[in-house]
């Protein structure tokens, strides 16, 4: 009951995000801070199979591209470059709504190896919403130039999701990236995304709210994450959630 059927998912993508997938095509969301080479990754993976437009009802650009790997077709959706998805701006809201309600088969978060610390904020926020996350540490060549070493194994262990190092400008690591996206989409990858540990007053408040939230909306969304948004006093999110859950319920009722 939690899961939307494939057809319902396609319809949701079409009606709410203006994204049309072919039957059996996987959707991949591409997130990242500005200036981390997100577009380079996008272009390298999708080549010339691209199509640009606007997000429905927003003045935010939306680029989509497709590629095929091991006989599976992928539609990659390039989300706006943002520093966080706490939805302080329209771009952040667009990115968050797609990851959260668009339910992509995998979300690829591109990080800048030369300032990993700042970039990890976004990855952690995405990992709170969905376990289907792949982290791509890009600009590895720049990091080497700046004498920065990144222990990918340690990072992967800490994050609990696949971590792929790349230098997309030079085409390094793209094969691994495709393979990781493939494994994630067909459900072969097992992840255990690290959850952010908050200070005690926040955690207490979460304990208070989360059980009630899961009783109310089921497990379509992480109750812990919904609780955090409510505690943040994020009115835009409350509007979004009412809007999307209504839609899911109607779709499910239609299916019954």
């Amino acid at each position: 009951m939690d899961k939307l059927s494939i057809e319902e998912h396609r319809r949701m993508l079409r009606e709410h995000f203006g994204i049309t997938t072919t039957p059996g095509q996987f959707t991949v969301a591409l997130a990242g801070n500005p200036n981390v080479g997100k577009s380079t990754v996008f272009n390298a993976l999708t080549g010339l199979h691209q199509h640009t437009g606007n997000w429905p009802g927003k003045t935010v650009d939306n680029a989509q591209g497709s590629f095929t790997y091991l006989d599976s077709s992928f539609l990659m959706v390039d989300l706006p470059g943002t520093y966080s998805i706490l939805a302080h701006t329209v771009e952040e809201q667009v990115a968050r709504d797609f990851i959260c309600f668009g339910k992509p088969d995998a979300t690829l978060v591109v990080l800048d190896a030369t300032c990993l610390e700042r970039n990890l904020n976004l990855a952690l926020q995405v990992m709170e919403i969905t376990p289907k996350v792949i982290v791509c540490v890009n600009l590895m060549d720049e990091a080497v130039k700046k004498n920065i070493t990144i222990n990918i194994t340690a990072l992967q262990k800490e994050l609990g999701v696949p971590v792929i190092p790349t230098a997309a400008r030079n085409g390094i690591g793209l094969g691994d990236l495709r393979h990781a996206l493939y494994e994630m989409s067909i459900g072969l990858a097992l992840t255990n995304p690290r959850q952010i540990r908050y200070s005690s007053e926040v955690e207490t408040a979460i304990q208070e709210l989360a059980p009630k939230i899961s009783r109310c909306i089921g497990h379509t969304l992480s109750p812990r994450w919904v609780a955090l948004r409510l505690l943040d006093g994020d009115q835009a999110f409350i509007d979004s959630i009412t809007h999307y859950l209504d839609l899911e319920n109607t779709l499910q009722e239609l299916a019954v």
Binding site: M1, P34, N35, T59, Y83, S84, L86, H88, T89, V90, L116, E117, R118, L120, N121, L124, Q125, K146, N147, I148, T149, I150, N151, I152, A154, L155, E158, L159, R194, I196, R197, Y198, S199, E201, V202, A205, E208, L209, K212, I213, R215, C216, I217, A227, L228, L230, L231, D232, G233, I238, I241, T242, L245, N249, Q252, E253, A255, V256
Partner: protein
């Protein structure tokens, strides 16, 4: 299994409960959540990243220390700006004259051909002396400065200097309770105010976006630059020896641009303290690394995307405007042409703000595009029958002086050119972006009122003090 269980508790109730918890914590949970995310990221990064600290700070950060320092930031900005203007003025003079000579020589040829073909005088007038001549003017006066200014500006953009300008000015925008990103929309405005207004979309807060839309016109677009450059060169430069002419002219233009920016700040401050009150939103301004400019891309972007685009639009506007002006200048009612009637009617108002009726009329007729103000002005000055060929700036000076121009006329024309109503394209963009007639009207009124006020004050004080 797929029966839908009625929830025992509704989302609304949970929201109310969350609200209560939030308020008992003095609304501080949001900030706590953000800082906790940072702490977690820091811990993870410290486990995975090792950074060999090099003794020397990188070239980028050393450059940033200078270019964005409190002490040198502004002087360097001014210096770069005036250098760009100086290069533009110096470099544009000779090609302007060459193009002018060639195009006006062709005009004589055209008149000859029209006469040979037995075309009536009015047709020759409308097509050659009206349309062709304004086109020739627009190309000769605008093309060379644009072909120099745009590549230079794109070069600064490509080097990564523009975000540093935004960084330098961010604090001042904060003080005016406007958004730091406004400077980027102003930079676009140097190219074209209509483009600048569309660029205001990058500002997220609707309040700050409106402020940016309403003030964009205080940045002289490149339709107004040729007018500023021509008048500054012949009049301001004319007072000193010829070797300093370009230097003085670039200085005058830099001062005018600074004045435009100062007025932008003043108006932004006034707006955010009156009709557009509200909180300033914070923004993360990332200084991207300095990059080696890609010469090919610069030339393509500045010549094709900007120069040709703007020139094409100017020509489309200039051709019909030239024809109309010629008709106005050659249709006589009684003793005087229509243009002379209109100018005579505008004369008292024009005189009060240091201009004359013809100049004010040229600005009004130039509403479709600022580029054609000077061509219209010349055509109406020259309409009195004697057709002069204007193929150099010196001749332009002679004409203006013979029409009674003084330094005060030049100063007021410069000021009015900087501070007057936006062109129709800009107004149309403002209407599309704000979706409101009220804000579009204000986009028109604010610069207009300020322009009249400033020119009036300058003209009247100069006359009172007996400086003219």
């Amino acid at each position: 299994m797929s029966a839908i269980v009625k929830p025992m508790i509704t989302l609304k109730e949970i929201c109310t409960e969350a609200e209560t918890i939030r308020l008992t914590n003095q609304n501080s949970l949001g900030d706590k959540i953000v800082s906790d995310i940072y702490v977690n990221a820091e811990i993870i990064a410290s486990l995975a990243v090792t950074r060999k600290i090099s003794e020397k700070p990188s070239l980028d950060s050393r450059l940033d220390d200078i270019l964005t320092s409190r002490l040198f930031g502004f002087p360097i900005m001014l210096l770069l700006l005036s250098t760009v203007f100086w290069l533009t003025i110096t470099g544009a003079n000779i090609p302007s004259e060459m193009i002018g000579n060639a195009l006006f020589a062709f005009q004589d040829q055209l008149v000859l051909w029209f006469n040979l073909a037995g075309a009536p005088d009015w047709l020759t007038g409308v097509l050659v002396l009206g349309m062709y001549r304004s086109l020739a003017w627009v190309v000769a006066v605008m093309l060379p400065p644009m072909a120099i200014f745009f590549p230079l500006f794109t070069l600064l953009e490509d080097l990564g200097y523009l975000p540093r300008i935004a960084f330098n000015l961010d604090n001042m925008f904060k003080k005016c309770q406007a958004c730091g990103k406004q400077i980027l929309t102003m930079c676009m405005g140097f190219g074209c105010n209509a483009a600048g207004i569309v660029a205001c979309r990058i500002i997220d807060s609707p309040r700050e976006r409106l402020i940016a839309v309403l003030t964009n016109n205080f940045v002289p677009c490149n339709g107004r630059f040729p007018t500023l450059i021509a008048i500054a060169t012949i009049f301001m430069g004319g007072i000193v020896a010829s070797e300093y002419q370009t230097a003085i002219a670039s200085l005058v233009i830099t001062i005018l641009v600074m004045l435009g920016i100062a007025i932008t700040f003043a108006v932004s401050w006034a707006l955010s303290h009156t009709i557009l009150k509200g909180e300033t939103s914070s923004l993360v301004l990332e200084l991207p690394p300095y990059r080696k400019p890609q010469i090919g891309a610069i030339i393509y972007r500045s010549i094709i995307d900007r120069t040709i685009f703007v020139l094409k639009r100017a020509m489309i506007m200039a051709a019909p405007a030239g024809a109309i002006t010629w008709i106005l200048a050659n249709v006589y009612i009684g003793e005087l042409s229509m243009i002379a009637h209109l100018a005579a009617w505008l004369q008292p108002l024009g005189y009060a703000i240091g201009l004359d009726g013809f100049i004010l009329l040229a600005f009004i007729l130039g509403l479709p595009a600022n580029e054609i103000v000077v061509p219209i002005l010349l055509m109406s000055y020259l309409s009195s029958g004697q057709i002069l060929e204007v193929d150099s700036l010196n001749q332009l000076r002679e004409i203006l002086i013979s029409q009674g121009w003084t330094w005060l006329t030049a100063v007021c024309t410069l000021l009015f050119c900087l501070l007057h109503w936006p062109c129709t394209t800009t107004l149309l963009s403002a209407y599309k972006e704000t979706g409101s007639k009220k804000w579009t009207l204000l986009t028109f009124l604010i610069p207009t009122v300020i322009g009249f006020a400033v020119c009036f004050t300058v003209a009247q004080s100069a006359r009172l003090l007996g400086l003219v």
